[in-house]
């Protein structure tokens, strides 16, 4: 009997299963985010210190979480490509890169907008902001490296190596606020001692975080489906070229 991951290893099975799942996952994401936005604007009180501007946190922090989760998924997929040779590992890594890059951009952009009124500046070259900027460039590097190589197998291996090397950025980002002087506030949700945010603000944050995570899953499923179809198109193009070449050679023999 096949395990779940073995069944998923077959692209045709994956296409069938994802087609059934995708509308439900997308709908669930929309519902959770809508509820989270309601909590963020109509239930959560203004922050006692920063006032209304702290509401940017409800999209800034989840974007940063997804930026890091997206990169972790790429690294796990790269590991799956090298160790298990999973047929969909490279599809997963390739599909996650542009989505992760978009959320990393959102984390930087919304953080910058929060920084101006809170810190008096849009940007400082401190450890947290700079390490997230490097993560953004790492995403762009993965996309650029893959698109610069025509050989799909070679491109998948080289991007997988870069992805695995780049995983070092995730702990650097996580602990950057503890290692040096920074304007960025220290961790207040993902702490061993538990969150230090009041539940009235923590709840909408976690709800939107869950919504963004489900949204990422939906987008990733769709991007994987597109990539599988793209590879089928490419295989058909090659088959057509091979058939045309054989028809040209045949009369000459």
């Amino acid at each position: 009997m096949q395990t779940f991951t073995q069944r998923l290893a077959n692209p045709t099975q994956f296409m069938r299963l994802s087609a059934r799942l995708l509308p439900w996952v997308a709908g669930l994401a929309a519902a959770i985010i809508a509820y989270g936005l309601y909590l963020a604007f109509f239930v959560a009180p203004p922050d006692y210190l920063q006032g209304e501007i702290a509401r940017i946190m409800f999209v800034h922090v989840p974007s940063a979480w997804i930026a890091m989760a997206g990169y972790a998924l790429i690294a796990v997929s790269a590991f799956g490509l090298f160790v298990f040779r999973h047929p969909l590992a490279d599809v997963s890594a390739k599909a996650a890169a542009p989505i992760g890059a978009a959320f990393t951009f959102l984390a930087l952009f919304t953080g910058s907008l929060w920084g101006k009124p809170a810190w008096g500046t849009y940007w400082v070259w401190d450890a947290r902001l700079t390490s997230v900027l490097i993560l953004f460039f790492l995403y762009l590097g993965l996309i650029a490296l893959r698109s610069s190589i025509d050989d799909e197998t070679l491109a998948s291996k080289l991007t997988a190596i870069l992805a695995l090397v780049g995983i070092v950025m995730l702990p650097i980002i996580k602990f950057s606020v503890d290692w040096g002087n920074t304007l960025h506030q220290p961790s207040s949700v993902l702490k061993l001692s538990g969150p230090t945010i009041h539940s009235s603000i923590l709840t909408p944050l976690l709800v939107i975080g869950a919504g963004f995570l489900v949204l990422f899953v939906a987008m990733h499923l769709k991007a994987m489906r597109n990539e599988i179809l793209r590879r089928r198109v490419k295989a058909l193009q090659l088959a057509e070229v091979a058939r045309a070449a054989s028809q040209v050679v045949a009369p000459a023999e």
Partner: protein
Amino acid sequence: MDLGPNASFIWTAYGMVAFVIVGLITWLVLDGREQQRRLADFEARGVKRRAGPEAVTARSEN
């Protein structure tokens, strides 16, 4: 809803998030349609992935 003197920062942040997410969704849907269209085109022309009697015509799955 009164978001105070920094309302423009808040709305710009949420606006950009909405813009990027809608843009991503639009790109994913259009890209999927384009790949489906190209697959259907190959199918209509009878192009198969493998040669020989066991050849299977590539089908697009929704």
